[in-house]
């Protein structure tokens, strides 16, 4: 019997030397995750001379920054909702069809990634332009043209396009976990399709919904690439402002301060996820 091993580690078996095994990751996450985050707080809360200041954070209230933040929040909420509405039926269909998990992930998520994400987003320019592919098709069908390139609509489209898989996967994961006999029981007890959905399927898929929302909302809120590529150069999101502070203005203190404001939103999101998704099933892809 090898009892002593189990007593030492009730959670599982420890293989090899526990401390030596933990060390590399402990070092890595301290050096490249924790310390860098602390640096953002350090820079965000100090000015160029190194003195403590809240100015960089309060800068979010200035009209141009507040406008960028507001637009980012608005567009990311819209695209998160669009993703949810598009993804839910897809996840339900795929669950019912019993599509193999692996081939589905590869097809919708992994394979497109092998075509560079900047190029894929840029391709929407070609598709959306005034004389682009979609408008050629529309005019061929004598339909009114779609003139959304360089508008916030195009940015929303780009966000939905890029982040839809992040919504589909957690939804699909939580829907496949629903025991079919629960659904059958609801039907046997006389619930119709809508009732079954509203009172059984949807409530059971809440963890997936919440983590899907987190996975889409955070990158949508903070993107600067999509707005750059599809919004023309006139529409500034909060991500664009921060990026410019770092790469063009070299004002790291202001950029860090604005990032801290962004992190507050991310933190709210993480807390929400932790509350609704205790098993951590959604944070995995």
């Amino acid at each position: 019997m090898n009892k002593p091993v189990r007593k030492k580690a009730p959670a599982g078996v420890s293989y090899f030397n526990q401390k030596a095994m933990t060390a590399p990751y402990l070092f890595w996450s301290a050096a490249f995750i924790i310390i860098p985050l602390c640096m953002i707080f350090y820079y965000g809360l100090t000015d160029r001379s190194g003195a403590f200041t809240l100015e960089n954070i309060l800068a979010i209230a200035s009209p141009e920054h507040a406008k960028a933040l507001w637009l980012s929040i608005l567009l990311s909420i819209i695209s998160t909702l669009v993703c949810l509405v598009l993804a839910y039926p897809l996840a339900m269909i795929l669950t019912a069809k019993n599509v193999s998990h692996q081939s589905f992930i590869v097809l919708i998520f992994i394979l497109p990634m092998w075509m560079n994400f900047l190029l894929r987003t840029l391709a929407w320019q070609t598709l959306l332009e005034k004389t682009g592919v979609i408008n050629s098709i529309l005019s061929f069908l004598h339909l009114p043209s779609l003139d959304i390139i360089n508008t916030p609509y195009a940015i929303v489209l780009g966000m939905v396009y890029n982040f839809l898989p992040f919504m589909v996967l957690p939804l699909y994961n939580s829907l496949t976990k629903i025991d079919p006999s629960v659904v059958n029981a609801a039907r046997d007890l006389g619930a119709n399709g809508v009732q079954t959905f509203c009172r059984v399927i949807f409530p059971l898929s809440i963890p997936g919904v919440i983590s899907g929302i987190t996975m889409v909302f955070v990158p949508a809120l903070t993107t600067f690439v999509i707005s750059n590529l599809l919004g023309g150069s006139k529409i500034l999101l909060i991500g664009n402002v921060i990026e410019q502070e770092f790469t063009q203005a070299s004002n790291w203190h202001l950029g860090s301060g604005l990032s801290i404001v962004l992190m507050v939103f991310i933190l709210i999101n993480m807390v929400l996820t932790a509350i609704f998704d205790k098993k951590g099933e959604g944070t995995a892809l």
Binding site: F16, I33, L94, T126, L285
Partner: protein
């Protein structure tokens, strides 16, 4: 009947949505005109010129090397970390898992600038090394989340049985435990490789002058107009991966080796 047809149409529409840009890029790679705005006839010219373009080839080399090395390091560090998690107290493991989740849940731009500030403060020269370190950092969580489910499925008694039967801990581990983890490790590696390959934002903040990956090269070209060779290269990469995937799925393989991307 109507319902299944509607379902099929819906799934088809989503796939058209996901793949329309990819198809567009492939068509553009055969476009004789240099601008993407108009069709100038069919040509294979860009595929030939691609291999003569040293800038693009260098960027491709950097991209692949960084993807491979970062996936490799992340796989080793992530796997060792996941194995060490299994013997941890519940509370410690929860702390480690939350740390692991930080790069996953945090915005890429924040991760990017946090690493940029770190390197700036340390006075490290920006370049290949800083990109590699950053990619390893954001790849580790993908490996951990991929190996973790395998780790949870392990039956500890099997390892103990091996020890009871006289195997040394190392032998017992590599003969009994490791083969069970391998599919998770492999899919973690592939996931990390793909993530590194497609990354732009974090590379953008941690790269130095003169070092470019395909992503950063494309980004600098956006304003001037993308070189059609880039479309040709992307189409080649995409089609290669597609063919590989089809071959892997078609080839018969032993049942227990089928590795699923089990990530939850």
């Amino acid at each position: 009947m109507i319902k299944t047809t509607a379902q099929k149409i819906y799934v088809a529409l989503i796939f058209i949505f996901m793949y329309a840009p990819i198809a567009t890029l492939m068509v553009l790679s055969f476009n004789a005109s240099r601008t993407r705005a108009k069709w100038g006839g069919f040509t294979l010219n860009w595929y030939v010129e691609l291999f003569a373009n040293e800038d693009i080839m260098q960027a491709l080399y950097n991209t692949l090397l960084i993807a491979f090395l970062s996936a490799l390091f992340a796989t080793v560090i992530g796997t060792v970390a996941t194995i060490s998690f299994s013997g941890m107290k519940r509370r410690n493991r929860a702390i480690f898992m939350s740390i692991t989740n930080i790069p996953m849940l945090n915005a890429e731009i924040v991760t990017g600038i946090s690493l940029m500030l770190l390197f700036l403060t340390l006075g490290v020269r920006f370049g290949f090394g800083t990109i590699l370190l950053s990619h390893i950092t954001f790849n580790i969580p993908y490996v951990i989340l991929s190996v973790m489910p395998r780790m949870k499925q392990l039956n500890p008694s099997v390892y103990e049985a091996a020890l009871d039967l006289g195997a040394s801990p190392a032998k017992a581990f590599f003969k009994v435990v490791f083969p069970d983890l391998l599919p998770g490790i492999l899919s973690g590696f592939l996931m990390a490789f793909t993530m590194s390959l497609d990354d732009f934002i974090i590379t953008h903040f941690t790269k130095g002058p003169g070092v470019d990956t395909l992503s950063t090269k494309i980004y600098t070209e956006v304003k001037k107009g993308i070189k059609p060779e880039m479309y040709a290269l992307s189409s080649l990469i995409f089609v290669t991966v597609l063919i590989l995937l089809i071959l892997v799925n078609k080839s018969p393989k032993p049942k227990d080796k089928v590795h699923k991307a089990e990530r939850n």
